[in-house]
Point group: C2
Chain length 344, copies 2
């Protein structure tokens, strides 16, 4: 844990090839994932997303769109440990989707083992088939070993969900499927456009210990992943996310001219809710960051589904901010004090 005498931490330079190559397997699996979705579509009544941390919030976005497009399924999202103790309906018409980047997340694997006692169908989204999670589930979608697992899980799961929804009249199946292969280059593009801004923001906010991140609808995925999975977990900041729709019903009372707020604007139906938060924050503070997906071309993404992909353009932008903050704090994004290195 000590960093004494260690080399100073530098922002990892943006490596386009690393992103493109890291997502190659995920992109390659999209047709197969969609076909699996189509095959299972009429066999199930319930879809449960069961995962921790970032994959749980990827599922949050998928859940949003399933509800918005009136999927024929009951869609729920659980943390694995909660799922096992809660024990919801696990009959043969329930599909449980377990996502773990590594395929070794203890509680997600335990949930897969737990599920063997029930009739529910199981699907794993993970890196490779030789991991415990894949060995315990009926269906597996692999995204390969990659440093880009967060977006990889999204690409694979979004393709699967598109397959599930392919026959629903209002769901933009073709647009989603045509856009998925463009995601890796879109991430590179958004990151490149944001690197300089990330550096400036990191310098501006280097001494702050409390941050609020606010977003609506599927963009909450990004607010949580950046705020909690990155700044809280990796930089040990008091950095939390609130839903734009909830901000004015309590949380906003903490806001003042000193505490920085980061508001994320996407292009889904919740955008006006986040815009309202921007207006409010600007009224009382100059320490407000707004990241807006409309500032990114999102090349290759079909215009009618930009809202589905916007959270990931924003995530790519914020990853640069995180890298530069790590440099300012001289604290690597890989440093942990408990996770993986202690018993808990």
């Amino acid at each position: 844990m000590t960093q004494i005498n260690a080399a100073p931490v530098r922002a990892t330079p943006l490596d386009p090839e690393d992103i493109i190559q890291g997502l190659r397997s995920a992109v390659e699996v999209t047709q197969e994932a969609a076909a699996l979705g189509k095959a299972l579509a009429t066999q199930i009544k319930r879809v449960y997303f069961v995962s921790c941390g970032a994959p749980n919030r990827v599922s949050l976005g998928l859940e949003y769109w399933l509800d918005h497009y009136h999927s024929p399924y009951e869609v729920k999202r659980y943390f694995p440990a909660e799922f096992m103790t809660l024990q919801p309906e696990l009959g043969p018409h329930t599909l449980v989707i377990l996502a773990s980047k590594s395929g070794t997340t203890a509680e997600t694997v335990e949930a897969a083992r737990f599920l063997q006692r029930f009739e529910a169908m199981t699907l794993a989204v993970t890196a490779t088939t030789d991991k415990p999670l894949a060995e315990l589930t009926q269906h597996v979608i692999c995204i390969g070993e990659t440093e880009q697992a967060h977006t990889g899980v999204f690409i694979a799961l979004q393709a699967f969900v598109a397959g599930l929804m392919a026959d629903q009249p209002h769901f933009p199946y073709q647009a989603v499927m045509e856009s998925l292969p463009a995601v890796p280059a879109m991430l590179v593009e958004s990151a490149q456009l944001s690197d300089q801004r990330g550096k400036v923001d990191a310098e501006l906010y280097r001494d702050d210990r409390n941050f609020y991140h606010i977003a609506g609808g599927p963009v909450f995925t990004t607010a949580y992943v950046f705020g909690v999975c990155m700044l809280m977990e990796m930089q040990w900041l008091h950095s939390v996310a609130f839903e734009a729709a909830e901000w004015f019903h309590g949380p906003f009372e903490i806001f003042d001219a000193q505490t920085p707020a980061l508001v994320l604007l996407g292009e889904d139906p919740s955008r006006p809710l986040a815009e309202r938060v921007v207006t409010f924050c600007h009224k009382y503070s100059e320490r407000v960051m707004v990241y807006d997906s409309r500032d990114f071309p999102m090349t290759g993404i079909a215009p009618e589904v930009r809202g589905i992909f916007a959270p990931y353009a924003l995530q790519a932008a914020l990853n640069r901010f995180a890298e530069h903050l790590a440099e300012q704090h001289n604290q690597s994004l890989d440093l942990r004090r408990y996770m993986w290195i202690t018993e808990y």
Copy 2:
């Protein structure tokens, strides 16, 4: 907003009669609420809880138990503003439950108005029938004008949900209905047993600005209501809640020997998850508060449903802590800087 020359803030003394009288209407309406639940039980396929702040988290507990007891319904929970933009399935077999203590919460009322364009059934839980929310909904359960609206909403909604579930084989209908009238006295009892502790804890933690509150399952209701709706909203503290099942997947990296953690233990299936958090926190810090419903007799609550009622015993205990913190901070729990007094 200024407190200059104002009398020093004192912890409001516990007033048993205020609690008992304040919940009289809610208790009186339980049979009627359950009867309505029974009447609607076979007419619906979906239950959507739509509300902000504390009522939203009351719904979280109800949703937990509906899932646990395998209700025949698709149960979802939304914030009103998100609900209106997301527009989930609102056909005739959907029941939308709108809860607002005052009956005037702008977005909840707007959601009720929005719903008039759809076939979905609507039910309001609120103070009195002469408020906008009640006027816009098909069914209304009134809990009366009261300072105890948080528990009042719970009592009324729990009775309604018990009615919905009355014919489900494993749901403890009788035990729930017999326990509901005991809630007011149980709150008094739990508060009385906790007043001295609340005073001590308030003195111990008076200078802290960052708090984490951790709980599992239906007890998350209390962690959020105390952490965000009280300490954040009313005392302007950086005070947030995390699910016990998520704690070890990122958030726990913020934890250290300085930052206080409050862990809530209930008696539902998630208890072991919160116990694990207690063990972890005690390993690294002495600044850990554990509030455990097992420390309260919960007189009048049937033993087999203590888990359903435990979050409210804990809430009553924590209300005393909040009162004493307000005194230590010389900041009334009624003070706001934006809510109700500014345009937003």
